[in-house]
């Protein structure tokens, strides 16, 4: 019978060994999909923009819509000053989106030894999403202190609060600030992990029912319909989580630009 283990898809495989100063920095399937995401996005953008027609073609329209979408998002949350972070937000958004969408291929045709036919979503690993969110928080803190100096700490002392309440409000603000990178990374990771496990579990039911023999195979139509629905839902989640990650990045960057709310 086919392997129906729903968490096998998250296993990390080593493609090429690499060890620097005692650290195991092997090139894995996760790294491969990150490279794939970066290369495919770069190629799409390069191909879409090399003509620079006044009346955009299909490819150029995609690039222009993506640009307008992210630029609007940055402008509406962080103002015109926030546009200096446009390259960063755009890279984050498109990298996560490409990663989520590549993860929707059940079996990506990889002709590499040790991987074979393989599906993998790098955003379903918390270490990847935590790294991305720590990068966002690093930029927020670094740029906030660079631009505002000590005024950046006003973030923890909101205006318009009776002085006595600062005893409670300041710790709450600090905790809320510290919980941001965690909630940002857990949200993306948990959504991708849960969605892909759910898909595999229901797809596994079809195989199990088909293998049960007799009339059980007919009932397999039910989980099959479910899998079709869930796949559509996962595409929505894949886009939505990339969008949510990017828009929250914009909101946090807004704090770095204007710490006094």
């Amino acid at each position: 019978m086919a392997d129906t283990n729903p968490i096998k898809q998250f296993e990390i495989h080593e493609v090429a060994a690499l060890e620097i100063a005692g650290f195991d920095l092997a090139f894995t399937n996760s790294a491969f999909f990150m490279v794939l995401a970066t290369v495919s996005v770069t190629l799409l953008m390069a191909l879409a923009t090399n003509k620079r027609a006044l009346v955009p073609g299909r490819g150029q329209s995609i690039a222009e819509i993506l640009y307008g979408f992210v630029a609007d998002m940055v402008r509406s949350s962080a103002g015109n000053e926030g546009l200096r972070f446009f390259p960063f937000v755009f890279t984050l958004f498109i990298f996560i989106l490409a990663g989520n969408m590549l993860g929707m291929f059940p079996y990506f045709p990889l002709g590499i030894e040790g991987i074979g036919w393989h599906g993998f979503t790098f955003t379903s690993h918390i270490i990847v999403t935590l790294t991305l969110s720590m990068m966002v928080m690093g930029i927020v803190v670094g740029f906030g202190v660079y631009k505002n100096g000590f005024k950046f700490l006003k973030l923890f002392v909101p205006a318009g609060v009776p002085p006595v309440l600062y005893i409670i409000v300041t710790p709450i603000e600090i905790i809320s600030f510290l919980s941001r990178p965690i909630s940002l990374s857990v949200r993306l990771f948990a959504n991708m992990l849960a969605g892909h496990i759910l898909l595999k579990v229901f797809a596994g039911f079809i195989v199990m029912l088909a293998g049960a023999g007799a009339a059980w195979g007919i009932i397999g139509v039910l989980p099959f319909a479910m899998v079709i629905g869930l796949t559509a839902l996962e595409f929505l989640v894949a886009f939505l989580q990339a969008y949510v990650f990017a828009i929250l990045t914009c909101i946090y960057l807004n704090d770095a630009l204007h710490p006094a709310h």
Binding site: S76, I175, S176, S179, I251
Partner: protein, 55 residues
């Protein structure tokens, strides 16, 4: 949601530093609850502002 965990963790760290278990943990948990609630309220406010700006 995560706010409660972070608050509790900070409270516990303060406890283990000053040896004052369980007070830091308790206070931290409550403050974390407040922080989590505030995050939700902020997000809701942000979204409703965005919606009213679009219309």
């Amino acid at each position: 949601m995560v706010g409660v965990l972070v608050g509790a963790l900070i409270g516990f760290l303060i406890d283990s530093f000053f040896n004052t278990l369980p007070f830091g943990l308790l206070i931290g948990t409550f403050l974390g609850f407040g922080a989590g609630t505030m995050n939700v309220v902020r997000a809701a406010k942000e979204l409703s502002e965005r919606a009213s700006r679009d219309n």
